[in-house]
Amino acid sequence: MPGQDFQVVILAGGECKRLYPLTSAGTVKAMLPVGGRPLISYPLRNLAEAGIKSCIVVAIGEAVSSSMASYLAAQEAAGGVSCNVITVPEECGTADALRLVAGQVSAESLVVASGDILTDLPLRALVATHQITGALATVLVGKRKTSPTAETKPGKAPKGVDYLGLDPSRQLLLFAASSPEVLRDIQLPLAAVQAVGSVTLHSDLQDQHLYVLSRSVLKLLVAKPALSSLKLDFIPWLTRHQLKHSQPAAAAAAGGFAGRASAGGAAAGGATGSSFLLLSRQHSGGSFGSLTSAGSLTAAGMPAAAADGGDGSSGAAAGSGTGNSSAAAAGSGGAAGGQGSKAAAAAAAGSNDGDGEGRGAAAQPPMPGDGFMALSHSGSAAASSRAGRVGVYLVPEGHYCARVNTVQAYGDVNREVAAADTALHLTGMSVSKYDNVVPPSVSLGTKATVGPWCIVGEDCVIGDKSSVKRTVMGRNCKLGANVKLISCVLMDGVSIADGSHVQNSIICSGAAVQERCTLKDCQVGPGFVVAQASEHKAETLAKT
């Protein structure tokens, strides 16, 4: 059943240097409060809504896993997702971490999500699309909120932009390049363009760091220890090499992308339609045998074929669940757009699995009418079919997807999470009649105002005549009198003394701002005390 057989790995990251000073003094990125809840809670909530019961959480460094441990245990006890936390050494990049975890993955597809994604995307639909189209990998891609050139001087290349080359139907990812630094030149391989006819290079789309990978891709990842980061190294490498592996006439390449050229040639030659008389499973058949293994999600360690038998799928198909993939590897050469490459991907999984099934060269019995794609009127669909390629899943209209990977993004996401019309539903909170979230334990002074799209934490004290606009406040914050907060994010335990004006700033837990300060576009680190009557603009104030 498509959309069932997959596991989820959440990369909770390490101690992120980019989010300094938010992540100093022992706070890790995964536990940063966004809208009053830790950042890691958002991907977990998305999983819970999709009905997923367990996942693997990868923590880079001991500090991260120990910070998260109590929160994860608490949410699991409260009926959330059960997390298996795996700690990897600190120098690991995302791809390295995934490599270390790859041994624990037994499902057909693997969802790799960064721990800082906030989204309400239906995960099952994404995985089902991946499985049905037989893609090698599917990358979640969303629109950028700001133009890449918004913060760059004219004439200079922008920073932090993802360059994604898509085909005209926006289904295939043919090229990917990104770097946190400036990318001054990029080289688009001509083969990518020639394969599809035209490639559109987008800089207005962002890779959201949520990938659905098939088993074979995981094997490729394990075989390439030089690639350290998923987004920066592995995905660009995969997009360059997908073409090599999906050539119909290519000989069986190393790594299991076997495509029997003769079968592929026969399929190509049968374009006039009589080829389906050859009752060989050249096209669609192979992949579905493996899809009948509707294994449970906590199938860690349980071979997929055993899950087949347990499900009562046909005895013939049980062996064929992995066995057909080896024979249906023949179909992977299907030029007329079959999704046999998915079967080839499964073939790689099957052949490298060593799960002791008596496969041999047992072919799945061919089904009548296997060559139906050659008869179809829409030949162009074959060109953009995702079989065996890296596919792209655009965030559908009306869904929210954002990453918290920079300080600016942290502030923006907090404000969006506070607003009911963008992302408040992700937190599970609901607004009062003034369009803000103010719990009853908050004490408001006389003439104090809390504007719309604010979230105020428990036990806060807001002094007289203070105004709070578009701000997210944590617990136990104390605002004095005549304080103005506009577009700020305050973490727990912050105190702001009388008469201060804070705009567009992030103030970390335990910090204090003394009387009559003016802060604009600043970040104040944890425990820092801003001296009274000081003015700061666009500065980072932290204890070193």
């Binding site: 059943m1 498509p2 959309g3 239906p122 099952r124 639909a125 089902a128 699309t129 049905i132 005209p168 139907s169 035209s198 374009a271 006039t272 339609g273 009589s274 389906f276 008389l277 009752l279 669609s284 058949g285 579905f288 899809l291 009948t292 009562g312 799928s313 046909s314 013939a316 198909a317 019995p365 089904m367 009548p368 009418g369 296997d370 060559g371 139906f372 794609m373 008869l375 179809s376 009127h377 829409s378 030949g379 162009s380 669909a381 953009s384 079919s385 559908p396």
Partner: protein
């Protein structure tokens, strides 16, 4: 129905046409003992009208519901496109399918097939039928009889469930219906003494034979018959894409006949481009024309060869929308029209026009035009990018959904009357359209089983 424009007290000063109609109906029916049956097009739009209680008691339920405006927001497309509820175009997506209750229980092969029908990856009567037989054979192969149930009945139920799911993704074609009939016939004749494995293998074998005989071999014989009608120096006109016509032309080219092809294409599918590509790959000289230019190009044509989605028992040929116009123009210019159609696409029903049985496509597809320079520039200025597959949204139709009196109707098929068709080429030979019932009678499944 004539709208009488009188003013009913209590109404707003300038009532919309719908409310005038409603009021006139209400006033007319208030005193009448028998209910007035109103066609669905004219029923209320779910507004504020409430009939007097006295009047509603004597009315037929559908009329009463319409008067009270119960939950009947008929969209523009629904109202204009044949009026019946449930026939408006509903796009099918992976998310919607997974959320529906069938999505959880249907075989993955059928699920994937349904999605490919819905997004147009598999188009064409033959391709859809073959793909469906393929998926159903997989359902049969993976099927396990639950204990205490009989294979025949339970498998029939599983097949029915799969077919129901496919119908939701896209309505069945005539060829698919015939394949399902054959499958059910074979299933009902299964020998109960056989083991389950043997029965399933037997059934799959029978379907393979059915495909072989009805599609593959039939195509081969049909092509031979049709190729005998292609002469040197011919100019053959064909419309959109037809798999079997393509095979005829390729086969004739292989036999060395010298002819050229004029491919006529029609929006919004523009399947003729694919036909052109395949003909050009075989080095057949082709020209391309659009449907609007058919009367000008018909002069140079020597014969017209069309494919069909179905042929009905009164000789009506269902084909891609636009093919009826081609046939009519050819008949008017006295050009012979040959319809190449295998016998498994014949059906016993009779259809007199295109509206009674048809399929709706995405109305937005009509609003998109091929992206040539001025349209693409205008669209880029508006911020809507040109999609090379779908084209660019025409600026004149940009806000068509907001216009209350405008609806776009995208029909998939149209019906060509028998008088325009010179010959129907089937595997049984070349028959006049009036002989279709003979073929149906003599060579139907049940006739052959006896």
């Amino acid at each position: 129905m004539q709208v009488v424009g009188f003013h009913v007290e209590g109404q707003s000063p300038s009532p919309s046409p719908n409310s005038i109609l409603q009021d006139s109906l209400r006033t007319i029916s208030a005193g009448s003992p028998t209910p007035v049956i109103i066609p669905p097009q004219f029923q209320s739009q779910g507004g504020t009208a409430r009939a007097e209680s006295g009047a509603t008691r004597s009315l037929a339920p559908e009329f009463a519901a319409g008067q009270q405006g119960i939950a009947r927001t008929t969209s523009n497309t629904d109202r204009k496109q044949g009026g019946q509820q449930g026939t408006q175009y509903r796009p099918v997506s992976v998310e919607r399918v997974l959320r529906s209750k069938e999505g959880g229980s249907v075989h993955p092969a059928v699920l994937a097939l349904g999605l490919r029908y819905a997004d147009g990856t598999i188009k064409g009567s033959t391709a859809r039928c073959v793909a469906m037989v393929n998926a159903l054979c997989q359902v049969i192969a993976d099927y396990r009889t639950p204990p205490g149930k009989s294979l025949t009945r339970d498998l029939m139920g599983a097949i029915n469930a799969s077919v129901d799911f496919l119908v939701r993704c896209r309505p069945l074609s005539v060829s698919m219906g015939n394949a399902i009939k054959a499958l059910k016939l074979y299933l009902s004749k299964i020998d109960l003494a056989e083991t389950e494995e043997a029965a399933k293998a037997h059934l799959v074998g029978l379907m393979a034979e059915w495909l072989n005989e009805k599609v593959a071999l039939a195509d081969r014989v049909l092509v031979e018959h049709a190729v005998s009608k292609v002469y040197d120096g011919d100019v053959i006109l064909t419309y959109a894409y037809s798999q079997v016509v393509l095979e005829v032309l390729l086969s004739a080219a292989r036999q060395g006949k010298r002819f050229r092809v004029l491919v006529v294409d029609g929006r919004p599918e523009l399947e003729g481009r694919q036909m052109m590509r395949r003909l050009l790959q075989a080095d057949i000289p082709c020209s391309y024309a659009f449907l609007s230019g058919i009367s000008a190009t018909m002069r140079e044509v020597s014969k017209v060869m069309l494919g069909a989605a179905a042929v009905l028992s009164n000789g009506t040929v269902l084909g891609r929308v636009g093919s009826a116009a081609v046939a009519m123009c050819a008949a008017a210019s006295s050009k012979p029209v040959l319809v190449c159609c295998e016998a498994f696409k014949f059906h016993e029903r009779v259809q007199l026009d295109s509206i009674t049985h048809n399929e709706l496509g995405d109305p937005d597809a009509l609003a998109h035009v091929p992206a040539f320079a001025p349209a693409a520039a205008a669209a880029a200025a508006h911020g809507t990018p040109a999609d090379p597959e779908r084209g660019v949204l025409s600026q004149k139709l940009a806000g068509w959904r907001d216009s209350p009196r405008l609806a776009l109707l995208n029909l998939k098929y149209d019906a060509m009357p028998a008088e325009y068709v010179t010959m129907v080429v089937t595997e049984f030979g070349m028959i006049p359209p009036s002989s279709v019932p003979v073929i149906l009678r003599e060579f139907s499944e049940s006739a052959q089983m006896e």
